[in-house]
Symmetry: C2
Amino acid sequence: MLPVVVVHGGAGHIPKERAEKSMEGVCSAVRAGYAVLKRGGSSMDAVVEAVTQLENNPAFNAGCGSVLNVKGEVEMDAIVMDGKTLGSGAVSAVRNIANPVCLARLVMDKTSHTCLTAEGASKFARSMGVAEVPMESLITEYARMRWRKNLAADAKPVECQMGKMGTVGAVAVDSEGNVACATSTGGMLNKMEGRVGDTPCIGSGGYADNQMGAVSTTGHGEAIMKVTLARLILFHMEQGHSPEAASDLGLAYMKSRVEALGGVVTVDPQGHWAARFSSKQMSWAAAQKDMLHYGLYGGEHFTQSIDEPL
Amino acid sequence: MLPVVVVHGGAGHIPKERAEKSMEGVCSAVRAGYAVLKRGGSSMDAVVEAVTQLENNPAFNAGCGSVLNVKGEVEMDAIVMDGKTLGSGAVSAVRNIANPVCLARLVMDKTSHTCLTAEGASKFARSMGVAEVPMESLITEYARMRWRKNLAADAKPVECQMGKMGTVGAVAVDSEGNVACATSTGGMLNKMEGRVGDTPCIGSGGYADNQMGAVSTTGHGEAIMKVTLARLILFHMEQGHSPEAASDLGLAYMKSRVEALGGVVTVDPQGHWAARFSSKQMSWAAAQKDMLHYGLYGGEHFTQSIDEPL
């Protein structure tokens, strides 16, 4: 059953013209993460590699391709968590870097802290030699178009966002049974300056514990935080539920309690995994036993050899 | 049993010369919160009033009296959560305001977001007409002395902090059975610029849900986050444990799993309450049925009429 890696490219409704790019993106990212695991890398190495690829892919709302805040700027959040140590690293509202997930990992590895924010995170990035990139390099035409459209007084950015694409994330178990998660996002469309969502918030945007499993979440951040979705799903797993059943319980609770939709990828330490969502779609992919699994709509589950082209 | 309010002034070791001020401070804050409840105010009004008083009191690490970051500056975190709606508001790494807990409440009440950070939080404060205060007005001589001492290469700020005083917080249940929590802090002694701790992180620094109860935490933030302490305690309460038993289970788990000490104040919707800690001391006070309860050392529990002077 081990190793295994599962990624998501955000819950919501993905327009037809973007669906193919989204599927290709998650499959390519999961292959990259799986290659890390196959050559003996840790689950942490694998989730960071997979999420880095998704950040670099302009089809997703993370890194290049992030949605813009109300001022038309990119501010990003990311988290990683290591199930072996319960150590985690996060950054919030960080600007001008290509890969927030890598900076989150540096926070975990190189500081005694768990989360750095805004200008403090930027200063830390500089001190670590992380390249600064111009904000323009992270902004796509698509992001700018959606920003302009949602500046109108009657705009509904939350609905619009759930109607498009979301946060990216990954979970993995390596050959030694260590679990890890990583999540990265540009956040909410036309959000206020300095808005921090669920992603860098431990237990909401992600959680990983070798005794239970790992979860990465996507959806309306403010709703995910209300129910600490990642931790909630792992409590259900602690009580004996499978990753699939626990994920469905968590998502159903979020729907009934705070009327919100979302999606998750979940693993347990034995390598059972799930990619579940209450939204119309979520692009996801998984790799295990040299097989690639992927889907986009509810109930969809394609399978093929990992080496076969899509 | 209702209404009830419980406050803490931080877990750790409180030096003798500061113990009296700390006890007076929590008793005065809990009286202020209780007065709000007695005149029909909500549990949210009560916890914000109690925590505002603690922020204004230079004896505590929140608002005026906050510890300094490595650059000798004050950056503060705060959260509120409303158990009726699961709505919450938080600010992280905010500067130049006297009462971060009030700004956290404004985030909850006046925005569609849950958390604002750093300069974005400051801009929001200005837009709400919150007065800017000079950083100097938040810095005590004691805070500056400890900052200088911990700049030395062989300093141990984490140990030093656990040895002094911590975060402040409150939980309450109003006459209608609504629960709320609030937590506020200057964070870690000599922390990096932009460091965000557990306080503004929902489920770690606090959590409130009318179906379970409310918790506010204090201790080493990075450890509290590893176990999402507030949410963990409420899971134990969901499974039938009393606030006291659930708090002890959560603190014992944090001690065994990540070797860290801390403290919490906890209520359930019926008005059962607990003030528990695994550290040497935690200043705490509670008000219920016109009686004042307070203590500082483990096992200490003084009781008197709420109107009687200390």
